[in-house]
């Protein structure tokens, strides 16, 4: 199996779908000749031409709107946000136009909005956000957050084939740092199926995106102390794999929900509440949440490190839970 970076895997998935389905096209700022700010779409214009890899004016509401219109017409646009933070500029189109059209008038809107999210690169308040919680609360949207290169490919393909608007949040920290075996050609990872990132015995860690790797780090450290973490990578938040999560919780009885987005109102609250509601009798302690702080994402490295969840936070909370 070819080894690819997370970034190459996304591109490989998009390229595969563009070859397979002439209705798939890429649209966004500087996605053409420049290949996107992070070069995710680099080279696609050479194979598919300007008509299918479209540079746009600087107008998020404009190009998301245009993608919605094209999706209504049967196309499958893949929209790039140069940084996912700019998705706030298209919030109304996404949450009110795209998300609701199937419910309102039965019109499907097959659309992927993807872009670099997440922190750890000193991007500051506007180049580090992890905005999934804004979208999980909007019925009609799906939300996907890959953690591995293979998933990055399999999930972008599934997202493009999905008949609904999908928010696909890539993690910019992983783009070139994560590299793994990725099946060439056709490879679909269905939305809604979590991945058992690590089997363990004592504590279930439910997480997604870059935090999967932080959890794995912590698990390595804790192993020495005899605390064994089971790590579930949700892969997609809407829909999310309640079954795998509940099965793990019923096995371990102790749970950490871990995410990179700020604490209050994060998707961790949803997962935690759901677990408590559906596995209360199995719990040997409260479901604990670990997340970023309730602040904007700070820029300076010491501040950003304090802001983001770190392996040592997981280690600390795991020890507390183990002792509960």
């Amino acid at each position: 199996m070819p080894v690819m970076t997370y970034l190459e895997a996304i591109k490989d998935g998009i390229r595969h779908e563009m070859r397979r389905d002439p209705n798939v096209f890429v649209i966004g700022e500087d996605v053409g000749g420049y290949g996107g700010a992070f070069k995710v779409t680099q080279g696609l214009i050479d194979e598919f031409g300007e008509d299918r890899v479209m540079d746009t004016p600087l107008a998020e509401t404009g190009f998301v709107g245009a993608a919605i219109g094209a999706a209504y017409m049967g196309f499958r646009p893949v929209v790039e946000m140069q940084f996912i933070d700019f998705i706030a500029c298209a919030f109304n189109q996404i949450t009110n136009m795209a998300a609701k059209s199937h419910y309102r008038w039965g019109q499907q809107c097959p659309l992927v909005i993807r872009g670099p999210s997440g922190g750890g690169v000193s991007g500051g308040p506007y180049h580090s956000q992890s905005p999934e919680s804004y979208f999980v609360h909007t019925a009609g949207l799906k939300v996907v957050m890959p953690a591995t290169a293979a998933d990055a490919k399999g999930l972008i393909i599934a997202s493009i084939r999905d008949n609904n608007p999908v928010i696909y949040l890539e993690h910019k920290f992983l783009y070139r740092r994560v590299k793994d075996d990725v099946p060439g050609g056709e490879f679909v990872v269905p939305l809604g199926k979590a991945r058992l990132a690590r089997e363990g015995r004592h504590i279930s860690v439910i997480t997604w995106g870059a935090m999967v790797h932080t959890a794995l780090d912590a698990a390595g450290q804790l192993e020495k102390d005899g605390v064994s973490l089971e790590i579930i990578d949700l892969r997609s938040l809407v829909p999310w794999d309640k079954e795998m999560v509940l099965a793990s919780v019923k096995k371990t009885g102790k749970v950490i929900v871990l995410h990179e987005a700020p604490h209050t109102g994060g998707f961790g609250g949803e997962v935690s509440s759901y677990i408590t509601e559906h596995a209360f009798s199995w719990l040997d302690g409260p479901v604990r949440r670990i997340s970023a702080l309730d602040t904007p994402a700070p820029y300076s490295p010491p501040l950003e490190q304090a802001y983001l969840p770190q392996a040592h936070d997981i280690v600390r909370v795991s020890r507390e839970l183990a002792a509960f």
Binding site: G65, I68, A70, G74
Partner: protein, 319 residues
């Protein structure tokens, strides 16, 4: 392409139907049968009917909430409108959405949302799809003087101009955005100047003159079909009612209402067609009679239809 005698009669009938449906809805509203608000297009029927009349097979329309006339032209049936306004199960959205928020791609109709302006980039995207398919059709939509202040208006036109797609935008300058007169919204004489800012071809038209609207819209659509480029039409008209039925529009100076009342697009067109002998008084009467008796049936049918089953509430969130 000149407007034929047959077309003139049809235009008259369509405007009359537009108004008649709304008048029925007003009655139903007062009887408490309309669920939620009612938004009239009184005085603006010529713009709504005339613009859509320029469309052909394969064209798309994104109607706004005062564009009942456009929807009728594009094949929406009075019954559908009644069912929708009464929140019934068999209505076009199954009671999920209200007023003219309805769409059906198989008939080329894209549903609007309440947020004004947002349909413009979406219809630019429909235009993009037409161009991608190399299909010589247009994507038409509407906006008010109020909605023209939104960022979505700007971004939609920017996208249409940059991508060179056959978007035809009808700007209905009807004097007010809710209670706010245009003088509080912009300091230019009109909104035609905005098109120039994007290098988009544009024309202004008397929105109360149906033939002028049809001709201008036909020219605009022709241009868009031929060049793949957007076209912008400002229709000067007036909202002869409040924003919605609950609004008595008392903030509109009486003199302004009076000025525009004599410009009524239907009454004047009737006079014109009678004078030109395109229609006889008997034909006019017959048209209205036919509309009324048809509407009697539609209203009855709608009133006797059922509300949605609450068990269906969770259906259809995802495709």
């Amino acid at each position: 392409m000149a407007i034929s005698k047959q077309e003139k009669k049809e235009l008259y009938r369509l405007m009359a139907l537009n108004r008649a449906i709304e008048e029925r809805l007003t009655i139903l509203y007062r009887q408490g049968k309309v669920v939620g608000g009612l938004y009239r297009s009184l005085g603006q029927e010529a713009t709504s009917v005339g613009a859509a009349y320029a469309l052909r097979d394969g064209d798309y329309i994104g109607a706004m909430i005062r564009n009942l006339g456009s929807l009728i032209v594009r094949g929406v049936k009075p019954r559908e409108v009644m069912l929708q306004y009464m929140a019934r199960k068999e209505g076009p959205t199954g009671g999920r959405d209200c007023n003219l928020h309805m769409g059906d791609m198989s008939r080329g109709i894209v549903a609007c949302i309440s947020m004004l302006g947002d349909l413009i980039p979406v219809m630019a995207g429909v235009g993009l799809a037409l161009k991608k398919r190399n299909q010589r059709n247009v994507a038409m939509t509407f906006i008010g003087d109020g909605g023209a202040s939104t960022g979505a208006f700007h971004e939609g036109l920017i996208m249409a101009a940059a991508m060179e797609v056959p978007l035809v935008l009808i700007v209905e300058n009807n004097g007010y955005a809710y209670s706010t007169p245009t003088s509080k919204q912009f300091k230019t004489k009109d909104l035609l100047v905005r098109a120039q800012a994007y290098g988009i071809e544009a024309a202004q038209v008397d929105g109360n003159d149906i033939e002028a609207v049809v001709e201008t819209a036909r020219a605009g659509c022709e241009y868009a079909r031929k060049t793949w480029k957007p076209y912008y039409i400002e229709a000067m008209t007036f909202r002869m009612k409040g924003h919605a039925e609950h609004d008595d529009a008392s903030y509109v100076p009486k003199s302004l209402m009076d000025k525009w009342r004599v410009k009524d697009p239907i009454i004047n067109y009737e006079k014109k067609l009678l004078k030109a002998k395109v229609l006889t008084q008997a034909e006019v009467d017959a048209i209205h009679k036919e509309i009324q008796s048809a509407l009697d049936l539609e209203v009855d049918a709608a009133l006797n239809s059922s509300f949605p089953d609450p068990a269906a509430v969770g259906d259809r969130v995802y495709a």
